[in-house]
């Protein structure tokens, strides 16, 4: 018997609203066979993160529970979500506000400039969801 394994490629579409005081970028993602996404945005954006919305697909493309998302600054590789995209639930949408802190003081959300790198892991084979990044 001849077996073949087909590698399902990742897919991401992006929609941006850049002309209002609060801007947003919608990333509609589908993971590859290994449960990952590694995608650099086409838009070149800058500002300070306001909040990030994560909505997993339902039904057959519902991601594996506790999947992980990073949105990295391309220049430095730093995770602008500050770890708040780790271990996301697959049944409910969540809103996260990454806040810079040294444990005792709070300094607001990170700023960024340039393209962003979306990295998803542990999402399962060909699963999906939507991420909306809001910033000012």
């Amino acid at each position: 018997m001849h077996l073949e394994r087909y590698f399902m490629a990742q897919a991401v579409s992006e929609t941006a609203q850049l002309h209002r005081s609060v801007k947003y970028l919608i990333l509609d993602w589908q993971s590859a066979s290994d449960g990952s996404v590694d995608y650099t945005t086409s838009v070149d954006i800058d500002g300070q993160i306001s909040m990030v919305f994560f909505s997993p697909d339902s039904g057959g493309t519902r991601p594996t529970d506790l999947y992980d998302v990073q949105i990295n600054d391309v220049l430095t590789g730093a995770d602008l979500l500050l770890g708040t995209g780790a271990n996301l639930y697959n049944a409910t949408a969540v809103l996260r506000i990454p806040i810079l802190t040294n444990g005792t003081q709070y300094y607001g959300s990170p700023v960024f400039a340039g393209k962003l790198n979306l990295v998803i892991s542990n999402a399962g084979d060909t699963k999906g969801g939507v991420i909306v990044l809001y910033w000012r």
């Binding site: 220049l75 995770d79 602008l80 709070y106 300094y107 607001g108």
Partner: protein, 142 residues
């Protein structure tokens, strides 16, 4: 351009994208495990955050990073040994040296912080002749 008082500045770069201005330095610590430098260009906007990116040989774990605003009246006759007396914008003790991380700055929080000056950086207990990258993210005030 930076004026270096301890350690070595290996490279510096600047990036700008609309309201965000980024300064990058790659440094090597001195034989006394320190790096001290003052930016020769006047501060442009609020210093919002610092991103540390490891280099090799990696700096000692839990090194201390201080960032200061050096008032313009002190520039040109600044004594780096007195840097602790200058307004401190940023303090992060025990920086995890092997991982890239974003660190917040007090000037991003206080709307009335005075920015008329120059940025000074001090690394303490970084190890001898160790390297690291620091990216300073400024957000211009509107």
């Amino acid at each position: 351009m930076w004026t270096v008082y301890a350690g070595t500045l290996n490279a510096e770069n600047e990036y700008r994208k609309n309201s965000i201005y980024i300064k990058h330095i790659n440094i090597t610590t001195s034989s006394f495990q320190t790096f001290i430098a003052i930016d020769a260009n006047k501060l442009n906007g609020k210093l919002h955050q610092v991103i540390y990116v490891p280099d090799t040989p990696v700096m000692s774990n839990k090194f201390d990073l201080y960032v200061y605003c050096v008032p313009e009246v002190l520039s040109g006759h600044f004594d780096p040994s007195a840097i602790v007396a200058i307004e401190r914008l940023f303090l992060n003790l025990n920086v995890a040296s092997t991982t890239t991380n974003v660190y917040g700055c007090i000037s991003s929080y206080f709307e009335n912080t005075i920015y008329d000056g120059y940025i000074g950086v001090k690394v303490v207990l970084g190890g001898v002749s160790k390297k690291g990258n620091f990216y300073f993210y400024y957000k211009e005030t509107t």
